[in-house]
Symmetry: C2
Subunit: 190 residues, 2 copies
Amino acid sequence: MIDLPFTFTLPMPQAIPSRVDNHIERRLSALRGQFSDQEAYNKKLSNEDLLIYEVYEIKRPEVAGELLMGISIVHPGKVGREFFMTKGHFHSVLDTSEIYYCLRGEGYMVMETPEGDTSVEALTPGKILYVPPRWAHRSICTSRLEDLVTFFAYPANAGHDYGTIERKGFRKLVLEGVNGPEIVDNPRYQ
Amino acid sequence: MIDLPFTFTLPMPQAIPSRVDNHIERRLSALRGQFSDQEAYNKKLSNEDLLIYEVYEIKRPEVAGELLMGISIVHPGKVGREFFMTKGHFHSVLDTSEIYYCLRGEGYMVMETPEGDTSVEALTPGKILYVPPRWAHRSICTSRLEDLVTFFAYPANAGHDYGTIERKGFRKLVLEGVNGPEIVDNPRYQ
């Protein structure tokens, strides 16, 4: 069977790809231990296991030279003062990068290296972000009403290491402050 | 020095990246031997060495795991009945793919494998094209007035093999027909 080129579109405003091989839904329960305010988390979860973010993936062979791509949608909301966010991860093959193209909404990408370097970049529509190799990354939706929607692409052999972030957390948090989002040190970082 | 994440934008309608490391200009003289109508080519070139296409590149280390990206702009025009196009190339590391995101204009991506498989995909704004590993690719602007503008990303170790296409050409051409662009066999394919 010939491995043919293919096209797809991202019909706005939803930006759900016209071709989808896998749809991931991550609910509040999947982010246990990640939000700073554990009391607010437990209270919110006891009320409803809310949908926090979704990923639409286009599958390719997971080998070097191929690229994986898809759409990430982080819904608006907060746990205490902390905005809804993705689990965040390192790539299992640490020396692999990722490109994000922000299509809709407002938010941040929180990033860090194993050596403790940190970076937080604002995402607004039309902005392209390059996450170099070695940087763990988590997207955060800071809009009150609108989803944060990004198109992403990364080397197909990268893999995902979620465990490191689950154990340690990120060094930086994004919280709602009086004058908008605030980037603060994570007091629970291990 | 820390290898920091970075962002850039593609201000429309030009879509020239707000961060650029290299700007390539390809003129008619750089496409010698590629257009089907050699008489029309020579006549056009004797008149003016027209700018056919431009590439704005963002540099990264050219190693596996990194991604190279940029903007390709093919200007409107024809040589005889054949639309302005890029030189087209295989990747030197044949088993590497490429993603194109069409931002503006109308055109086609003409593709083929070393084994002789061919594919021609239409490009319109909002369409994303996946060029699998092994497929040579050439973009063609079929709009009469507007540039064909695409954002591209590919594995940074891919490299470019222009020589094979310079010698053999592509198996398919896109010519202006009575009712719009026509995809035809290349009579000069070697």
